[in-house]
Symmetry: C2
């Protein structure tokens, strides 16, 4: 059924073992020992291959340590308050500034403060000078032949100053390893090209290029190689000639077009294929003609992680640098996480400092969700020996951001709206030390997060089916309403989003039961789903009569994209999302989208800045550029 | 007495106040707002000037999430274990790999594991597919118009991946600020030039260049300007035109040739001249034609510090970046430090993890000692309001190195010898995660540091005047000898170092009393000084008969440099130092230079590696290349 047999068998070796085995194999190759001479002024962050000793002393002459006059000490003997001595310029003394050259026969400096000017060429002193006072002797800073830096030292700015002071102009450093990057896949095209159906933009290769440079290597990215055994083989052979390390992305798995492992078996030695990590399992660790060659899986999160776990340590090894311990922080897990005993899992988490605890909330765990990496504040590693962690458990998280940034972040968990993105951007633009982080779990999820002290604010839009009033009822029901308040945000227009021209002629929720109409829904707990259910109930429609009611997306934009992309005919969402995606819109209701907050937090300076931002003319103008919003009460607090 | 009046008056404004005032003035200038469009692939570490929304969804088509076959879901309905269904290639199904394009009319994927191959064009399935199973819908990763990064965001590798995935090719970022660097001083010459008497190599400008680049600016270094009012004025005016920020080094003080402040007063507005910090007091903070211009003092440590305190924050402000909190660590101070109420002092310290405490030992506090910065592990800030700290006091130190490095450092305090530098280098070359840090305080100082648990090893060479035996007597006298051991290092030849050809005809210590002979001594507590005193005593010579007996240097090389540099006629030290500096040598004694260590530390893996290194053939060969050493017992432990 396919041109080649599928490689369905991967090993499941532990990460630790895979790293140990492979790095030991690579170190036997004895690479990373070649050196080059470069200018000291270009040597920042390079690593010295030999110890460097000062060529000359610094200062290399006896220098004045003060502004004043240079004198011959024994010409000053006997000077006292009651018996001052007069000295003649260019006979007994010369003017000198700090750093000035102490010429023969002078051998002491008297500070300017202790010198009384008598006339153009005469000064008076009232205290004798001792030989060598206020003189920086030769070598006070650096003595000739003194060790300035040892070998295997990563050169810093102050080292460059000292090396130059010791008159070292060139320095022998290890050569930077060059890394060949081969993107593969018939469906992959360069980012500059127009995308046709079924094509994917090459992103990992560009990401690897900057990562190689960041970790002190030289990236060399090759053109994209289609899924063709011979082409791939020839390219790898050429890349191995030209580089110190080669990485191939993707084709490392066991699909019918995943040729990488077979090519590597033919031309070299595959040490490991398959590591017990998630994401990143189908990793290939090989050696071809004495060079390490690594096959990296294609999903962006896997690609990033496998690079960090296998390529980065290799680059550090070649550069004789020690990997820094990742910065870690103790956090409290907001939700239960289940993980398999089959692998060590790397879970991206958002962090927030709420009520003296750092709360870690897991993000989307899919290997294909780049944004989970972009949004992550840290990574939680679940060891292979554990089946996960309970909610409330204290865990240690590797930080991807500065602690200060996490501490200055307003954590929002709840319903998603475009205006939240705009608000975060505007807040950070006005106050560059403040950040807004949003997790989209729907309105009810936000209320629950608030109850568990996992967030500072919860954006919600929850209608009381009996009174038609928004949000208050739910706060009363799920939270102690004496302790919580509402910050009014926007009214927004909710409705049905359909394809341009409304080909199926949808007019109201009653039309959702039409045969062949494929609907797409929001997730359980989303205010929009609750609103839909309210109208279905009102019209006596059963969810089971709607095809696609169970297909869930987490945001308005995702629903709109599904409709625009032909994988659904209709979904419910806000007008702004429909407009952006070029969809038609059948309005159903105006609803109130507000921020739930604890009264205590209203005094927090971060929240005060947030409310100022909401009320600012700039921000209101930006919302008004979108359709379907009313900002009348924006920023008002209702306790 | 000088061409211009000296500027003897500096203000003494506090650091905090100076930073607050000046940065506020600069922010009024409203610089740092200009932007440029660059390729996303070049945008690592640049800062976004606007929020970036995805241009297209990713994936931008419905894509297979598994290897297998794409099917039309309703062609599979009814399939069960007992009622398998056969499907025909290109009619009912198509082969598909992960990421493959789901073409019409297919709308589900069945995993390869659940497909049984019947013949070339036929497969059997035993379970029905539900619509959209195992398909990554359009926008699963990134939805069109979704916020990828906000404005004022420092772009990371994963952001570049996400931006490209969202089909963003160019990005608007803030322009990097360009910093003009003007080195000044008639005595300053470029590092590439041969040094003549009274000239100093330009080092700070090169250090600033790499610091500017490191802190996200573009350095533009100008030629060196001699001390000439008009030349300096014209250069500053030109630099202000061409750059966003200008820094001038040095001439910022109040010497007769320090024109900088007068020039800046003529052409601009000097906001502050003189900040209450040590080192770094004569700092000038000015604004000229709407651009910040900073005068930085010339001593290398001052230069580094003033750049960190005033230029770095400015560059971060222009780049819309937040300054990271410096990493800090609680340490115990090994010695008393006295500081003045006149300034906030920045003391460079060595750190060492000894017996579960981090010990901080102050380094040379002179602003001219570059090596104090190179050797420093951290900086201890003594507030202006304090007169210093007592020994044993817990203090907080800003780290200049990784904590891991500090933890893997063997701390040596005691006598200096070149072989210690070689040992440190050899150790780090063999074990790249180990470091040796040496402080030179003389043998007795080393014993005292050992007693106070401030070091792991103490290199000593202390002769018992009665028995002629080395080191043991002193350990017995000052330490509990049951708990301490000796690691034998080298025997070395001590003697008098004199100028080439021995012009004063010195033959023994008895000649040191010669009239006009200027001697240079080692510091109190140094083994070499104790040895000298032993011989003086033996010959009945009084120290007061020796001119220069009170002039102290801390190392053999410093003494040798003083003799070679004509600031002394004779000093005592080891043969290797005399040879290196081209001096003649009159041998006096062979002495034993050993390492004192606690028995407990002998089991430490760092020390085991150190002893292995001492005994290695490579290291012994390196010592034997020097003159005047005997390595017979090297590395042997005597308990």
């Amino acid at each position: 059924m396919a041109k080649k047999e599928r490689n369905t068998y991967l090993t499941n070796i532990s990460l630790e073992e895979a790293q140990r085995l492979y790095f030991a194999e690579v170190s036997l190759l004895n690479h990373g020992r070649s050196t080059e001479k470069i200018a000291v002024t270009d040597s920042l962050n390079r690593v010295s291959a030999k110890p460097v000793f000062a060529k000359k002393s610094s200062p290399n002459y006896n220098a004045a340590a003060m502004d004043g006059i240079a004198v011959v000490a024994n010409h000053t003997y006997g000077a006292t308050e009651s018996n001052p001595i007069h000295l003649k310029r260019n006979k007994d003394y010369m003017d000198i500034n700090t750093g000035g050259y102490i010429d023969d026969p002078y051998n002491a400096v008297i500070m300017i403060e202790d010198v009384i000017e008598i006339d153009e060429d005469t000064v008076e002193i009232r205290q004798a000078a001792t030989p060598w006072q206020h003189i920086r002797p030769i070598g006070e800073d650096i003595v000739e032949k003194e060790l300035i830096i040892s070998s295997n030292h990563k050169i810093r700015a102050m080292d460059i100053g000292a090396l130059l002071a010791g008159q070292t102009i060139d320095i022998e450093v290890y050569k930077l390893p060059q890394v060949g990057i081969i993107p593969t896949g018939s469906e992959i095209v360069g980012a500059e090209q127009e995308l046709s159906q079924g094509k994917i933009i090459e992103t990992n290769g560009s990401m690897f290029s900057v990562m190689v440079a960041e970790y002190y290597g030289i990236p060399k990215k090759y053109e994209i190689i289609p899924d063709d055994y011979e082409l791939l083989k020839n390219k790898i052979l050429a890349a191995v000639e030209e580089n110190d390390v080669v990485i191939i992305n993707a084709g490392s798995s066991a699909g019918s077009k995943d040729y990488t492992v077979d090519v590597l078996r033919e031309i070299g030695d595959v040490k490991i294929h398959g590591v017990a990590i998630k994401p990143g399992k189908p990793t290939i660790l090989a050696i071809v003609k004495g060079k390490p060659v690594i096959g990296i899986p294609g999903y962006p999160v896997s690609a990033y992680l496998v690079f960090e776990l296998f390529v980065k340590p290799l680059l550090f090894q070649y550069n004789h640098l020690i990997l820094e311990e990742p910065r870690k922080m103790k956090c409290v897990l907001s939700r239960k996480i289940i993980s398999s005993l089959k692998y060590e899992e790397f879970v991206r988490v958002k962090l927030g400092a709420v009520k003296d605890k750092i709360i870690a909330t897991p993000l989307d765990r899919g290997a294909g969700v780049t944004m989970s990496l972009v949004k992550a504040d840290g990574i939680l590693i679940i060891p292979q020996s554990l089946e996960g962690y309970e909610a409330g458990r204290e865990v240690e998280v590797q930080l991807l951001k500065e602690f200060g940034e996490i501490n200055n972040t307003i954590v929002s968990i709840g319903s998603h709206d475009l205006v939240m993105d705009l608000l975060g951007d505007e807040l950070h633009t006005r106050k560059s030390n403040l950040f807004l982080s949003s997790a989209h779990v729907g309105s009810l999820g936000g209320i629950m997060a608030m109850r568990k002290n996992e967030c500072h604010i919860a954006p919600i839009h929850l209608m009381d089916e009996e009174t038609g009033e928004y949000n208050k009822t739910y706060i009363k029901k799920y939270l102690n309403d004496k302790e919580y308040a509402i910050i009014k945000f926007v009214k927004r227009s909710q409705g049905l989003m359909v394809k341009k021209g409304n080909p199926l002629g949808i007019r109201s929720v009653k039309d959702l039961t039409k045969k062949d109409l494929l609907f797409v829904n929001r997730q359980r707990g989303a205010g929009t789903r609750i609103l839909l259910d309210y109208y279905l109930n009102k019209h006596g429609i059963s969810p089971s009569d709607i095809l696609g009611y169970d297909r869930e997306f987490n945001t308005h934009m995702a629903v709109a994209a599904a409709v625009a992309g032909n994988s659904a005919d209709c979904g419910m969402g806000v007008l702004s999302a429909a407009k952006i995606m070029g969809l038609d819109f059948i309005p159903i209701a105006w609803e109130e989208y507000d921020l739930c907050i604890s009264k205590e937090m209203l005094k927090d300076s971060k929240i005060i800045s947030l409310i100022e931002t909401m009320k600012s003319n700039d921000f209101i103008a930006k919302i008004q550029e979108l359709d379907g919003y009313d900002t009348e009460n924006i920023g008002n607090v209702i306790e």
